[in-house]
């Protein structure tokens, strides 16, 4: 029963990781842009959300409604102002540019919000739980998982079925050839990054609700997102979702073995996947 409980809690934790990983799946997995500031953007959005909630006395849902459009706008500006200048077949320039952005964002957040940990007041939602077959399941983690599943489903369909999705996949496969069919790659990339950071708006609200956030927390979220995408396999959205579950379950089981072992257990499973199946669980091997 204890291990079944760990499995359930792991899946719920995986729901949170999936929300970080989806944006990463889009930017790193599809567009091959390495965004080191990914985690810092989550934390920045969380802190903005907390400030909005305290200033205007808003509950979690109105904060979400304000934060997601703001996140979309931030993503669009990030691509237009920074990433479109460094995008190309070489991933190094985007890595360096966003590494710099990451440091700048962390210091900016430290300046504005200080190093204190904060959280978003959930008006009781964070402490409610349901009993399902002898296991207590938190209401908030359940909502997180449901939202993550919904976002994954939407993103997957968008990539497969829409004009924007096809244009993005085309531009990711061959930027120059995409332009030869009339695609403006920079406009498509700006929309894609807007979507990726927009999803982080959801992650930011839920992260601040279920735990605390501080300006230095970003890099840890970045690592989880990277690991989930690589476990699942580059370029597949549902792969990133499953990768998040694998990571969450590994950590939850690790925590049961020893509270100090949880995060490490996740990293070990990640390394095991990388060593045995470098293309990821759902990735296609390079021929």
């Amino acid at each position: 029963m204890q291990w079944f409980d760990a499995l359930v809690q792991g899946i719920l934790l995986g729901g949170m990781y999936a929300q970080y990983a989806l944006g990463m799946a889009l930017m790193f997995g599809v567009m091959r842009i390495v965004n080191i500031s990914h985690g810092d953007l989550v934390i920045l959005l969380s802190l903005i959300g907390i400030s909005i909630a305290t200033a205007w006395g808003l509950g979690p849902l109105p904060v979400l409604v304000v934060l997601v459009p703001l996140a979309v706008l931030m993503g669009w500006v990030l691509q237009k102002a920074v990433l479109n200048r460094v995008v190309g077949s070489d991933p190094l320039p985007s890595l360096i540019a966003t590494f710099g952005l990451s440091i700048a964002l962390q210091n900016l957040m430290l300046q504005i919000w200080s190093a204190n940990s904060r959280s978003l007041p959930g008006h009781g939602i964070e402490s409610q739980s349901l009993e399902i077959g002898g296991i207590y399941v938190g209401l908030l983690p359940l909502i997180v998982l449901a939202v993550a599943t919904g976002l994954t489903w939407c993103l997957d369909l968008t990539l497969k079925r829409t004009r924007f999705g096809r244009a993005l996949r085309a531009a990711s496969a061959d930027v120059e050839a995409a332009a030869m069919t009339g695609i403006n790659p920079r406009a498509v990339y700006a929309m894609a990054t807007a979507a990726a950071v927009g999803i982080l708006g959801f992650a930011a609200v839920f992260q601040a609700l279920r735990s605390t956030v501080a300006p230095a927390d970003g890099p840890a979220q970045l690592i989880y997102a990277f690991e989930a995408v690589i476990i699942g396999g580059m370029g597949t959205v549902w792969g990133a979702f499953v990768g998040s579950m694998v990571l969450g379950i590994s950590q939850a089981i690790g925590f049961r073995i020893d509270p100090g072992f949880g995060v490490l257990a996740g990293h070990i499973v990640f390394l095991a996947v990388l060593a045995s199946r470098p293309q990821g669980l759902f990735g296609k091997a390079l021929s």
């Binding site: 996949r169 085309a170 120059e176 050839a177 332009a179 069919t181 009339g182 370029g235």
Partner: protein
Amino acid sequence: MTAVLSTHGLVARYGDFQALYGVDIELHQGEAVALIGANGAGKSTLLRSIMGLLPVGREMVLLHGEPVGGTATDRMVQKGVAIVPEGRRLFTGMSVEDNLRVAIDQAARMGAKGGWTLPRLHRLFPILKEKARAPVQSLSGGQQQMVAIGRALLCQPRVLLCDEISLGLAPKVIREIYAALPEIRATGTAMIVVEQDVGLARSASDRLYCMLEGRVTLTGRSAEITREQIGKAYFGAGHAVV
């Protein structure tokens, strides 16, 4: 009669290396022009310069008399110029149909009008219908070339640039692909065809340009130019005719 597309003293370089030295070519309505020349003569560079893939001066390329040199590639497509690039450059990881849909999507977005539809393309190359759901990289070279041509046609071009569409293909497949060109021309689309095979180039074109080391060395009607003239223009003066 003004040309649909023309270049005027077109100069292009890759960094310090100058690839084109003042190239003048003209393409008229409904015309097919062949571009021949040895490897490195500048044929592909010329097409890439027209397509906005290399920085060139504004006045060096005219489209319907309008200076368009150096215009972004996607804007050139919008203006009615499409290219079948060297090496095909298909979107790997996507199905045949999705590769074609990308062009249909963009043509719809830009409001481009023309006669090319998916059913019509399927009549021209029936194999593309049969393989619609197959990943594009699983197709044979000839079939991939048909996808590349189809993708360019679905951009609804008034000018079509074809860069070495016979490269690496079996003679039977080459005949099949060249057999489709008259139907493409019948829609009023003017074409520039870059071709290594001189015989093929002559039979598929009204006029031809021969290039050597970044310059046009010969031009004239394909049916009237002699093998001796081509030999001299192709290899430079003093070479024996092969």
